[in-house]
Structures are given as structure tokens and as C-alpha cells.
């Protein structure tokens, strides 16, 4: 549907977009995300030629946008902006049917379309069609902003941080509505945001950008599980931690689990476990990379044959582990779903950073519900 080929946008003293290559299939909702100044909005605006690329080409359904009349092109593309931009001199009806009017649709068809759209989002046309934008709340106004973009049934919609200026409740409900509309109408959508929660909620695919470059293109699931690098991980992490509590697995783990080295003698290990009152220890090397685990029963059973922990570790089924970038929910799902007693948390270099146990999970939950309740 939309294809960026070696697209560059350079300004006098900085490069906003560096050699962008991206393909967006028909019907997909793609979210461009990144910190401010990463080039996401520039990328969006090059599609409808509000900004012209310095070099490279953009194709919509295999037509190079450079060869199209910009005015005609824009009428084929829905456009929603953060400032909403409803025309205050026009009624809701007139606002919604701007593009159909520009395209010269007959009056009756336009009216039918407006009513149909208003009904689609549960706004009674009899009540709202003849109101003016300043008679609506911010959330309602942007709902009209979205309908306005849909009015002429465009095959493609561009949304530039459309819900960024709304209050959280309105934002949430508009996100739900957009998701709904998208799954119903299947219009290819390019959506720009800096809000990771929004991206993860809405996107079929997320395009993470930084300093004019695409850092990762992935489904929300993959993005969470396998962030391409530290930037993506911190961008996910930072934003996920901003929201509700218990976003990250790091928040529900014990940061300092009991560990042993493989050279440790069995008796020593047993004493350690008794002292720490644990039934399992994790075995790590000098760099604290996870090697395996030993349960107290194994230790007990083998203490006649073996001398060091290293000889008897990993007799139990292989350990399930989780990455530190994962969400708390994933850890919950794993522990509950796979009936695990514990779940070691590893960073990207397999270094052990913590351990989620049923106990740590419950106390994290408890402190989320009742505030801090001690250990």
C-alpha cells in the first residue's frame, strides 16, 4: 500500500529522516513511535506531501506520490492532527463533509455519509449534525476529527499524534474506538505517537524510530519480547513504567536471589540453603551468567556420589527464564500457566538480575493493591 524507498529529508543543519525504507501492507495499522525529533512526523507528512523528501521515493499503491497532484493526493488520504483542527465556522456536518464537498459529491450522498458516520460512533446525528465544534468536548471533537478523515472513504489514513492532547479517559475511549473502526473498515493507517502504551495497544506493527532512523519494525508482541537494542528496550521500559504500577517484570522480582558457583561443595551448598531457608539455588558463573539450578532434594540424593554443585546441577528439567525487559504480566502468565515455582530473570547477556517467585509475585501484587506492605 505504502512504500518508502531510500527516503531522506535533510534540512539546512540537520537530517530529519535518514534513508528510510519501509513497506506498509494494505489494511495494516502501523504506529511510528520515537522520542521527539526522531523524524516520525516528518515521515508521516511526506506521504501526503505536506513535506517533500530531499531524495528517495514514496509509493502509494505503486504510484510515486511525486507524480501526483498534491491536492488530489491529499483528498484521497484521510488526515487527523493533534490540534484537531475542526473549522469553527462550520457545523459538525459541514466539518465532516469537507472532503466529499471538495470532491463534488452530490448533496444527498454527502448527508447520508455524514449521518452514517455519526451513527457509527454512537453520536446521534439529529443532535450533533448541526452543532458547532465549540459545543463539543475535546474527546467528541477529535471523534469528529477522525470521522472527517474517514468521510470520503480513503484507502489510507494518516494520524499525527491524534489523541495526544486529550485527557486520559477520552484518549482511552478514542483508542478503543479507533481499534474498532480499524478492524471493521480495514483502512491502512499510519499513526504517529510518542506514547508506547498507545502504540502497543493499537498497532499491528510498531516502527520505532530514533534520530531519523528506523531502529526496529515489529509486532507489539515481538517488540516487548525482543527489543532490538538498548534504545528500544529503554524506550519501552521508560514508557511502560510511567503508566500503572507493575508494568515490568523487574518490579515483581527478588533482586538478590540465592546463588552458588558450580565449584561449591555439596555440604557447603546444603548449609547455605538451610541458612537462607530456600529449597532451590541458582548456579551462576563468575559473570553471574545463569548455568542452572539445584533443588534441595537432588542435593540430598546425590551427596554420596558427587562432590561439587557443578556435577549435579541441571538434573531437573531445563529452567524457564524470562528477559528483564518483559512485562510483569508475561511473568505472571508463565508462572501460573506453566505451574513454575520460580522464574529467573536474565538481561540480554544472560546475566541473572533477579528471580520471580510466587511469593515475590504475591507481595508485589499486594503492594500494588494496598500500597507498600513491607517485605
Amino acid at each position: 500500500m505504502v512504500k518508502f524507498k531510500n527516503v531522506v529529508k535533510a534540512y539546512e543543519n540537520h537530517v530529519a529522516v535518514k534513508n528510510l525504507n519501509l513497506e506498509i501492507p494494505e489494511g495494516e495499522l502501523v504506529v511510528l513511535i520515537g522520542p521527539s525529533g526522531c523524524g516520525k512526523t516528518t515521515t508521516l507528512k511526506m506521504v501526503n506531501r505536506l513535506i517533500e523528501p530531499t531524495s528517495g521515493s514514496i509509493f502509494i499503491r505503486d504510484r510515486n506520490v511525486k507524480d501526483l497532484n498534491p491536492v488530489a493526493l491529499r483528498r484521497e488520504i484521510g488526515y487527523v492532527i493533534q490540534q484537531i483542527g475542526l473549522f469553527p465556522n462550520m457545523t459538525i456536518e459541514q466539518n465532516i463533509d469537507v472532503v466529499p464537498r471538495l470532491l463534488g459529491w452530490p448533496a444527498e450522498k454527502r448527508k447520508r455519509r455524514v449521518y452514517e458516520l455519526l451513527e457509527m460512533v454512537g453520536m446521534d446525528p439529529e443532535i450533533y449534525a448541526h452543532r458547532y465544534p465549540n459545543e463539543l468536548s475535546g474527546g467528541q471533537q477529535q471523534r469528529i476529527g477522525v470521522l472527517r478523515a474517514l468521510a470520503a472513504e480513503p484507502p489510507l489514513i494518516l494520524m499525527d499524534e491524534p489523541f495526544g492532547a486529550l485527557d486520559p479517559i477520552a484518549r482511552e475511549s478514542l483508542q478503543d474506538e479507533l481499534k474498532n473502526l480499524h478492524s471493521r473498515l480495514n483502512i491502512t493507517t499510519i499513526f504517529v505517537t510518542h506514547d508506547m502504551d498507545e502504540a502497543l495497544k493499537l498497532a499491528d506493527r510498531v516502527v520505532v524510530m530514533n534520530q531519523g532512523e528506523v531502529v526496529q519494525v515489529a509486532t507489539p508482541e515481538t517488540l516487548l519480547r525482543n527489543p532490538a537494542n538498548d534504545f528500544v528496550a529503554s524506550f519501552i521500559g521508560k514508557n511502560r513504567l510511567n503508566g500503572d504500577s507493575l508494568q515490568s517484570v523487574v518490579e515483581i522480582m527478588l533482586p538478590d536471589p540465592v546463588t552458588v558457583h558450580p565449584q561449591m561443595g555439596l555440604a557447603e551448598g546444603l548449609a547455605l540453603m538451610k541458612r537462607k531457608k530456600v529449597d532451590t539455588v541458582l548456579v551462576v558463573d563468575e559473570q553471574r551468567r545463569l548455568l542452572g539450578s539445584v533443588a534441595v532434594e537432588t542435593l540430598d540424593r546425590e551427596h554420596k556420589r558427587a562432590r561439587t554443585i557443578g556435577e549435579i546441577m541441571n538434573q531437573d528439567p531445563p529452567l524457564t527464564t524470562i528477559r528483564s525487559q518483559a512485562s510483569a504480566k508475561e511473568a505472571f502468565d508463565l508462572i501460573i500457566g506453566e505451574k513454575l515455582k520460580y522464574l529467573p530473570v536474565l538481561d540480554e547477556n544472560d546475566v541473572l538480575v533477579g528471580l520471580v517467585t510466587r511469593n515475590s509475585m504475591v507481595s508485589a501484587l499486594a503492594s500494588a493493591v494496598w500500597g507498600d506492605v513491607g517485605e
Binding site: V71, Q83, G85, L102, G138
Partner: protein, 207 residues
């Protein structure tokens, strides 16, 4: 009395002609300088300077080139009307929320459509306020038209001054003041009427 009525009508027509000409020249000029912002400073400075020239001096100077008669008066009135009209049109259009322009452009309006459907309607109340100021100023300055052979209510005022006839002076001054007040009132009404309902101050539900 019939004379006075005729003079009043003439006075109003001359003032309106001056303002009308200023509209014809000023509004396109203002729109032009919203597109070529580099010209804006220069244009505003020129209209500003024109405004500061004493009206008597401007009348006299123009008379040298345009001769005696109403044409000189109308051109003078146009020049004085230019500043409020150009300035208000310019600030009205440039003051519009950038989001509206971006939305209009992004939806595929041509520049002309953007102007006609968005910029002018939204700026109209401000433009109208400029016209109102111009009209009232013009009615006042038009009383000097008699000095360069123009018509209007300046004639009875001037003649009355020369023969020290206060009733003659007032027979010109009172109608001039009245039409100024009426124009102010009428144009204020019109300004309100052209303000779209959606742009009026009261808004029951705004978040």
C-alpha cells in the same frame, strides 16, 4: 432641510466610496502579504506612515495631482481607510489557529479554497472591525472635503464658520456626527451577524 438631507447622503456616499476603494485595494493586498511575509513589514510600515500624515496636508498634496473635486476626497479617504483594513485583514488571517490551516491543507484544499472556506470566514469578525473603524474615520475626514472642492456636510460647516452662523455649522456637524454613530452601530450589528455561531463566545460544553 432638503439640502441638508442631500448633503448627508452625498457625505455618506463619498465616505463609503473611499472605504469601498480601500476594501478593493486593501483586502487583496493584505491577503498577498500573508503569503509573502517579507512584504508584510514593508507594507505595514507604509500604511502606518500614510496614516500619520495630517489629513489637511494629504488633501492638499493630492489636490496638486488630482485637482479640485470629489475624486481627490475619495482617494484621500481610501488612503486613510487602508491601514485599519489591511492591518485587521492581515492579523485576522495570520492569527488563525495553525491547526486549521494544517487540517485544511492536509485534507486537500487549494490555497483559494482554504482562503474562501476557512481563512476569510474565521477572520471575518476582525476584518469587519477594521472596516468599522475605517468608516467612522472616513466620515470625520470627509468634512474637510469642502476645502478641495468636494461635496458633503463640510460645506455648511465651513460656510457657517466663515459667516459665524452657529446654526449653519450645526446643520452640518450634527448630521455628520449622527451618520458616524449610525454607521458604527450598524456595522457593529453586521459584525455580529457575520460571526459564525460556532465562533461566538458562549460555548456550553468545552473541555
Amino acid at each position: 432641510m432638503g439640502d441638508i438631507l442631500a448633503l448627508t447622503v452625498e457625505h455618506l456616499m463619498l465616505s463609503a466610496a473611499g472605504v469601498g476603494l480601500a476594501l478593493v485595494v486593501g483586502i487583496p493586498l493584505a491577503i498577498l502579504i500573508t503569503r509573502y511575509r517579507t512584504l508584510a513589514g514593508f507594507t505595514m510600515a507604509v500604511t502606518d506612515v500614510l496614516q500619520t500624515i495630517p489629513s489637511m496636508a494629504l488633501l492638499a498634496a493630492l489636490m496638486i495631482y488630482l485637482g479640485l473635486g470629489n475624486q481627490t476626497l475619495v482617494v484621500t479617504l481610501m488612503i486613510y481607510s487602508l491601514l485599519p483594513i489591511v492591518r485587521n485583514t492581515y492579523t485576522g488571517i495570520t492569527g488563525i489557529d495553525k491547526g486549521l490551516i494544517e487540517a485544511g491543507k492536509g485534507m486537500g484544499m487549494t490555497r483559494w479554497q482554504l482562503l474562501r472556506m476557512v481563512q476569510i470566514p474565521v477572520a471575518l469578525p476582525v476584518i469587519m472591525a477594521g472596516i468599522r473603524v475605517a468608516m467612522v474615520t472616513a466620515i470625520g475626514i470627509a468634512t474637510l472635503g469642502v476645502l478641495i472642492g468636494g461635496g458633503g456636510l463640510g460645506a455648511p460647516i465651513w460656510r457657517g464658520m466663515q459667516i459665524v452662523d452657529s446654526s449653519m455649522i450645526l446643520s452640518g456637524a450634527i448630521p455628520a456626527a449622527l451618520i458616524a454613530i449610525l454607521c458604527e452601530f450598524g456595522l457593529a450589528k453586521l459584525e455580529k451577524a457575520v460571526t459564525p455561531r460556532g465562533m461566538k463566545a458562549s460555548s456550553p460544553a468545552k473541555s
